[in-house]
């Protein structure tokens, strides 16, 4: 696949930039300078960046240009500038986790996923704004300032990987790590109009990554295209001796699965739960996306969603019980250092009885098997809107200003968090805009370790649509 010629290098996707660099069509330093120019021009409005390692990124890019000119083989991500959510530890560098409490925290280890990206040639330009300790679905941050949606600055970015979604959408970098415990990759992806992948639980190492809920935390990318996500996952997935929970399954060549052919792909649409209270413009964009997939040869079947109430209840229990265990000391010693919405959320978790937490974990396997039996037997993919409502404004979801916004705030992740409990691989791709001009996302979930299936469907969709090519005017 040849990279398109672009007058603005920052418009190149991650794979386009890496492939153009490998072919000698662009210089890595020019690519980094194009991204830095975008950040310099627009991030004062978007507020996606926490730390910009400008000189280090330029030096790394210059070194890659020199190496390539000398005939040295470089990795599959060489030439692609990235920034990452500020919770991926790099030894000796501050990792704030979006918090006041860790504003000066310097880790002693480097996250395995960063080491793998480094080895693949990714150019790390710094760290990104995020929800404090990755614990809100909207992107509010009381300490570093709220991140703003590049499509309309009054609207939320989605969270918790707010800077990752906003920055990829704004063409500040080609890719960013996010993390996803209840939708924190897929929500900013859908709300900012980019592509996000949450892989199967255990697929990607979490060593050196700030924990939120060790049962449901996932590491993954926010990028422009399904092809970007495929290459990113190939580089980052796989067993890691430093993370005993990481899966030993082989890592396939996900890009090889992107054939564009989805003839015979069987897609189930669960009619209940995922559409409860859905807004009409979101449903309209979702239905249009289904027609595109059907036109390419996929079959679309409406089915009744199984057991979602149990899944939705239990996923709330798991993350809300594990987080207080991690934060208990700080909640005793520095409760005022948390934002109101976060300390209030963590606080509630202390009230949840232990036996219910164990019940939630114990029912996870049986409910996964039940979901697969009822929604994925005879089907390859379950499709839903990623966010079932219109994108809310920052004001509408600001609990710090008004606790009455609590229910609207919690409703944002209703369609994403079930897949964290079930552990299933789930991709979000842009599929249109609502009546207020904010992006809408299509969520595709498949069986465990079937990332190639959702990536193939997402790529086939993006071959004939241009939602992922649209960029906000800043």
């Amino acid at each position: 696949m040849n990279a398109p010629v672009s007058s603005d290098l920052a418009e190149l996707s991650m794979t386009e930039a890496a492939d153009a660099f490998a072919a000698g069509d662009i210089k890595a330093e020019a690519m980094v300078r194009a991204c830095l120019a975008r950040i310099d021009a627009h991030d004062a409005k978007v507020n996606s960046v926490i730390r910009l390692d400008r000189e280090a990124a330029l030096a790394a890019a210059a070194a890659q240009d020199k190496a390539r000119a000398g005939g040295t083989a470089l990795g599959p991500l060489a030439g692609a500038p990235m920034m990452h959510k500020d919770m991926y530890y790099r030894a000796g560098k501050v990792s704030t986790c979006g918090s006041r409490i860790r504003k000066d925290f310097v880790p002693q280890v480097t996250a395995t996923v960063l080491e793998r990206l480094d080895a693949a040639g990714a150019i790390d330009m710094g760290t990104l704004n995020m929800a404090e300790f990755a614990q809100n679905p909207t992107g509010h941050n009381a300490h570093f300032g709220h991140c703003h949606n590049p499509w309309d600055l009054a609207y939320c970015t989605g969270g918790s990987s707010s800077g990752s979604g906003a920055g990829v959408a704004a063409r500040f970098f080609t890719a960013a790590l996010g993390s996803d415990t209840g939708g924190s990759i897929r929500l900013p992806a859908t709300i900012c109009g980019v592509t996000g992948l949450k892989a199967t639980q255990t697929r990607v190492s979490r060593h050196g990554v700030m924990p939120l809920s060790f049962s449901c935390d996932n590491v993954g990318p926010l990028v422009r295209t399904a092809r970007d996500a495929a290459r990113f996952l190939k580089v980052t997935a796989g067993q890691d001796p430093k993370d005993p929970t990481s899966a030993p399954e082989d890592v396939p060549d996900y890009e090889a699965a992107l054939t564009g052919d989805i003839k015979g792909l069987r897609i189930a649409v669960c009619e209940s739960y995922f559409f409860d209270g859905a807004d009409a413009p979101v449903v309209a964009a979702f239905e249009d996306a289904l027609k595109v997939l059907a036109d390419r040869g996929a079959s679309i079947t409406r089915v009744k969603a199984p057991s979602m109430q149990a899944v939705a209840a239990y996923v709330s229990l798991v993350s809300r019980t594990e987080s207080p265990a991690i934060h208990a000391n700080w909640m005793r010693e520095y409760p005022g250092d948390y934002a109101i919405h976060l300390s209030s959320r963590i606080y509630g978790g202390f009230a949840i009885p232990g036996h219910l937490y164990i019940e939630a974990l114990s029912r996870r396997g049986p409910l996964l098997k039940q979901f697969v039996a009822e929604a994925l037997t005879g089907f390859d993919i379950v499709a839903t809107p990623t966010l079932r409502t219109r994108v809310p404004t920052l004001a509408e979801t600001d609990i710090d200003a008004d606790p009455a916004n609590w229910s609207r705030f919690m409703a944002v992740s209703a369609n994403t968090r079930p897949f964290n409990y079930l552990g299933l691989p789930t991709l979000s791709v842009p599929c249109g805009f609502d009546d207020r001009g904010l992006p809408v996302g299509l969520q595709l979930a498949a069986r465990p370790f079937a990332e190639a299936t959702v990536l193939r469907a997402g790529d086939a969709f993006q071959r004939v649509t241009d939602w992922h090519r649209k960029s906000p005017v800043l």
Binding site: A313, S316, L317, S362, G365, P448
Partner: protein
């Protein structure tokens, strides 16, 4: 202003005694009150857990539920 459920104050006292954490703000109290809905959802699930269910069944289910031939 909705009436605060009667379980909120004893719940706050239980958190203080068990965990040494005091209620940090009004929103936290609101969050506890919001548990009423979750309690109802969990009550509806009583009896579904089987005696032999346990957490490690999840990793086994992930492998068991892979695509055929994978």
């Amino acid at each position: 202003m909705p009436v605060e459920p009667e379980f909120v104050v004893p719940m706050m006292e239980a958190i203080r005694r068990w965990s040494g954490v005091s209620v940090p703000n009004a929103a936290a109290r609101h969050g506890l009150a919001d548990f009423a809905g979750l309690m109802e959802e969990l009550a509806a699930l009583r009896g579904t857990m089987v005696f032999e269910d346990e957490p490690s069944s999840f990793e086994a289910a992930l492998r068991e539920c892979r695509e055929p031939g994978q």
